[in-house]
């Protein structure tokens, strides 16, 4: 197990930057997916509620 830590400690700055950049990008995408989902879902709930309130179904 220790070998693996040492191996990964040998990672160059470029490698580390690459992993961090990918993680940051994915983290941002993950967050924006959550915002979009909230907009879509809460919007849909509001529309369905309004339609029911207006007597459409």
């Amino acid at each position: 197990m220790g070998d693996a830590i040492e191996t990964n400690q040998d990672m160059s700055t470029e490698d580390l930057k690459k992993v961090e950049a990918v993680a940051d990008e994915k983290q941002r995408r993950h967050r924006v997916d959550e915002y979009m989902a909230m907009v879509i879902a809460l919007g849909t709930v509001a529309v369905l509620w309004f339609l029911q309130y207006s007597g459409f179904y």
Binding site: A4, I5, T7, E20, Q27, E34, A37, M38, T44, W49
Partner: protein
């Protein structure tokens, strides 16, 4: 070299500038519409719940079952293979990806499948009342705590036994114990993973979950699990939210409802689980570490759960009457259908080869042990009267 100095060196070379907006991570509609259209057309063709179109796969399977002689009095596709809209969407997606192939123009749109899944989970709030929280809240939290932290321990010891290396062990533990892809990505910079290790761990957890998606409903039917027990079982046993929901709805609508609800408990535990795995695998470096609990909590907490909480609270307060709640349930199933097609279209079976033999063996054995632990916990909870 300590972890701090390694990261400091990386930070020194990082250009200072404005942090890009989170919205820039989302592909625009112009790029995404082919993939979105493909998902919508395939979901419609597979048979969306509540829409009775004539030329759908679902209609075709029912027709074949009606024409063919029954096997033990049951239809082959619908009763024995349990081919419902969940399985249809997934299988069609997987076949299109791995047999026919997917054009590059579809790829940006397919990444929206995660958005539809989250939107479906938020709308799932319209299907619960306060009584569901009373009935399932305590048992689901207890099982999830055992599964997240116990699962992480199983993977940590299996990884050490197989001499897999700390970063790979941590990635597998995160991928299996919490939430597949997102947990692997969340922990990758903390444990200094190489990019190929992240890809391996994701491939192992996703393919294991895919196998469970089809196998667990058969197991559940075989041992006669109730909808509540199976919903909790799929939420605690599977590594990936999409697969949890798909497995639950594959079993029954009620099991899917319970799976979605109890899965919230696991999502809430992600930040604590990430820190736990980090300290378990790199414990000897924890004194020199600069990892902050609040930073991890802020960055990793799944905020869309707040949307679920809003919808669930409004439903508990009876803000809208039952017909609206039923309509929301139907639209929720459409969101899930789109998501399942997207999940199938994003599943590359060739990824399993990338994981390597050792990663696959450790991942699958430890994943199976987690499933057994989960079954034992659910059996105990049932015997103690905490679960129907």
């Amino acid at each position: 070299m300590t972890q701090e100095t390694t990261y400091d060196r990386a930070a020194e070379n990082t250009p200072r500038g404005r942090t890009p907006s989170v919205w820039s991570a989302l592909p625009g509609f112009r790029k995404s519409w082919p993939g979105l259209l493909a998902m919508a057309v395939l979901a419609l063709w597979c048979g969306l719940p509540g829409l009775n179109f004539l030329f759908t796969l679902d209609t075709l399977l029912h027709y074949i079952d009606a024409v063919l002689p029954p096997i033990y009095g049951k239809g082959f596709f619908t009763d024995l293979l349990h081919m419902n809209y969940v399985v249809n969407c997934l299988i069609v997606g997987i076949l299109v990806r791995n047999v026919v192939g997917v054009p590059n123009s579809w790829e940006p749109g397919l990444t929206y499948s995660g958005i539809f899944m989250n939107a479906g989970i938020i709308m799932l709030g319209s299907q619960y009342l306060l009584s569901d929280l009373v009935k399932l809240g305590a048992v689901s939290i207890i099982v999830m705590i055992f599964m997240v932290f116990g699962g992480a321990l199983i993977f940590t010891y299996m990884g050490r036994w197989a001499k897999m290396g700390d970063s790979m062990t941590a990635l597998l533990a995160a991928g299996f114990s919490m939430c597949g892809v997102s947990a692997c990505i969340a922990i990758s910079p903390m444990v200094r993973s190489k990019s190929e290790e992240v890809a391996y761990a994701i491939a192992v957890s996703v393919t294991f979950g895919l196998f469970c998606l089809f196998a667990l409903p058969f197991l559940g039917h075989m041992i006669g699990m109730t909808n509540d027990a199976f919903g909790l079982f799929s939420a605690a046993g599977l590594p990936y939210s999409n697969q949890v929901i798909a497995t639950g709805f594959n079993y029954s609508f009620e099991a899917g409802r319970v799976a979605g609800f109890t899965n919230i408990g696991r999502l809430v535990l992600i930040p604590a689980g990430v820190l736990f795995i980090y300290f378990m695998t790199l414990g000897k470096e924890m004194h020199s570490s600069s990892v902050s609990f609040w930073k991890v909590l802020r960055e990793k907490f799944p905020i869309f759960i707040l949307g679920f909480a809003i919808v669930w609270t409004l439903n508990c307060l009876k803000v809208w009457p039952l017909p609206a709640s039923e309509a929301m349930g139907r639209v929720m199933e459409w969101f899930f259908s789109l998501s399942f097609v997207g999940l199938g279209l994003l599943t590359k079976l060739s990824d399993l080869k990338k994981a390597g033999a050792k990663g696959v063996v450790v991942g699958y054995v430890a994943g199976s042990l987690r499933i057994i632990l989960c079954l034992i916990l659910i059996y105990i909870a049932t015997k103690m009267g905490m679960l129907s």
